[in-house]
Symmetry: C2
Amino acid sequence: MDQERLLRELSEFLSIPSVSTMSAHDADVRRAAEWVAAELRRLGCQEVEFLGSDVHPVVWGVGPEVPGAPTLLIYGHYDVQPPDPLREWVSPPFEPTVRGGRIFARGAVDDKGQVFALLKAVEACGTPPVNLRFLLEGEEEYGSAVLFDLLRKQPQRTAADAVLVADMAYIAPGWPAVYNVLRGICYAEIHVRTARSDMHSGEYGGAAPNAHEALVRLLGRLKTEDGKIHVPGLYEAVRRPSRQELAAWKKLPFKEREFLKQRVGGKALTGLARYSVLERLWALPTFEIHGIVGGFTGEGAKTVIPAEATAKVSLRLVPDQKLSRVERQFATAVRKHTPKYADVSVKFLHGADPAVVKLDHPVFGILDRAFREVVGRGVVPVRAGGTIPIVPALGQRGAPVVLTGIGLPDDGLHAPNEKLDLQQLWDGIEVFKRFYELFGAEGRQ
Amino acid sequence: MDQERLLRELSEFLSIPSVSTMSAHDADVRRAAEWVAAELRRLGCQEVEFLGSDVHPVVWGVGPEVPGAPTLLIYGHYDVQPPDPLREWVSPPFEPTVRGGRIFARGAVDDKGQVFALLKAVEACGTPPVNLRFLLEGEEEYGSAVLFDLLRKQPQRTAADAVLVADMAYIAPGWPAVYNVLRGICYAEIHVRTARSDMHSGEYGGAAPNAHEALVRLLGRLKTEDGKIHVPGLYEAVRRPSRQELAAWKKLPFKEREFLKQRVGGKALTGLARYSVLERLWALPTFEIHGIVGGFTGEGAKTVIPAEATAKVSLRLVPDQKLSRVERQFATAVRKHTPKYADVSVKFLHGADPAVVKLDHPVFGILDRAFREVVGRGVVPVRAGGTIPIVPALGQRGAPVVLTGIGLPDDGLHAPNEKLDLQQLWDGIEVFKRFYELFGAEGRQ
């Protein structure tokens, strides 16, 4: 592999700030789509199209026809999370920088770096012995609305013998993984209003209702101190993992203390203490506050009583919770817990049901072999705490969805200083190349 | 009065965005200082100096000598609060606009408009029969550090027969007021850290400590639902108003229901329900949240578990609380109420002791007469919920500090659409002119 050229090309891709959640970056998202389309054309795709949106298009590609060979649908996303807090980045998020054998940039691992590996593995094959289809979207970090709509109208796009999704990570260094459950998500904004407009805390303080105080009380009530989410009915649908699954998790290279010290870097973990940390991360719903908007947050001091405040929050969902039901339960709980002096409204920004994948198709054996041959260890079946909303739709025509990836647990996705280990990248290209070859030979059931 | 010219000049003054709490506006603060200095020179001050700071200078002026006449020190400030939330302004905060007999702009009443009235009253006198001194500062909204320092080093600047401070309001339309107590303030930032850096809520949610959750719990504990501040010892020093004072407040033109509906515009008032609203506003300490920094507050959705969060908060202090003691009490309470999994620190940005003014000096009778002659009603003695930190230092040489003003209760100071009633301005200029005249004749005790 010409690593120098590959690094140059990856840096080019990563330097496009394709932040799908911020309309100011619409042109950048489009630019990233064009970068991907050009790559697909270079790889010999006759058919390369932008589907569903001019702003955040789904890039659709059809590789050279290989008569009699199975069809593999490759999914990935070229959009990225916002980069803030900017000041915590050692090098700027959209100026990819290599330090200590890792490339640092927003999207390095989630998911541009992995999309890059999938594409460069095709290149490395020369002529892959498999019919390739590409669905590379630009809105994964914003709920995948465009792709959802596309796949509802054109479900035949998912007709394939298998779907490969490389948006995940190893469970530990040296331990590649395949994922059988992804949590769902319910993302909401809670808006509270207590007065007509912001007030002077000298003039009004002591008697006027403070929107931040109302919001703080509400948020405090939505989860108990010990980590139980205080939304009536929320846990009813939660199915505990089987005894076998829980036993298998105990054998994984995962240490709670190491998770706290190495990865979180905090004083203590939180959540429901009677469950293991992996069960909390993979098999229980969550409620998290992401940020609070309103009042005065600038430099210095402003003595204002805020009249309105908005919390950005989300819940993660697990089997067998349903997004539509959770939305209803959550909206009811919010109304119930809001102090009487405040008006409250809940706006759901996006969501996804949890996804369950059965690992009984031969493609999972092929994935295992590809990793085993290249990195010396096969894939261990695990769950993921995160969400890829589109996964159920990708499998709607019955193709098994292979959820794997080349990231490492400390890559810092969605966080400052997101990175991709270069050795993981080089290995990943080899693994995917081998996967294409094996799947081409044996992938048709 | 040439109202057209005066309005033009006032607009010029108000259009300078002299926001002292934001370093980006340093040059604007300086520009406002220069505007004030030019006015003082036009009014015949031989001595006009910038003291204490090049950035936020105190403008010092000495009016023409009037042998044998008493000396009046005039205090005001030419800096203003930040204008956000910008989108709530009907017209831009630094483009003064007259609508319905009122001028709308940041600083219209607090305090540029009132400084303007004081200066134009001098102009209206021609040659005022009083020795005037001016101390016009540029950091009132940021704790008055420069002026504090100046008056500590040069207390003789406050040598006068009386000090006039016009930074206040009528108690109701048609009811001018004189103030005998100002609350103090203790402004702090509470910073919470729970992890090394922001984390992905999918990967970490359920077990990783969330800084916003820690902060929300802490803030919720610092005040009970019914409005009692949960800081041990805080209420010990609080002296209740005398029975006479409480009885006098009952006769004021103030209706709690009207306060809620007309001024707050909310569903209900908050705070300690067993005290009257005026007692809550004037004679009890407060704890208010002004804003919460950290996590994701941009457009759209970002699924991050914040590693740090900062709350901007303040307490208002009442007689006989001491700032230094409250700071210690508050820091102790914050440490005590912070969840164990979080590191917390408290930074005090600025503060002031409460101020008490005895109304037994003849100057208060003069003020009463000036208002009575011009607007038909004398001043009613009241308290203020707000703070002017420098007041105790202004009275340090024994001069009585006259706290009054020409604002109205609904002027919206520190809020969007701050305004000054033009009739209040024209009346105010006449009142101050009459006050200078009466004080020149009778002000020497």
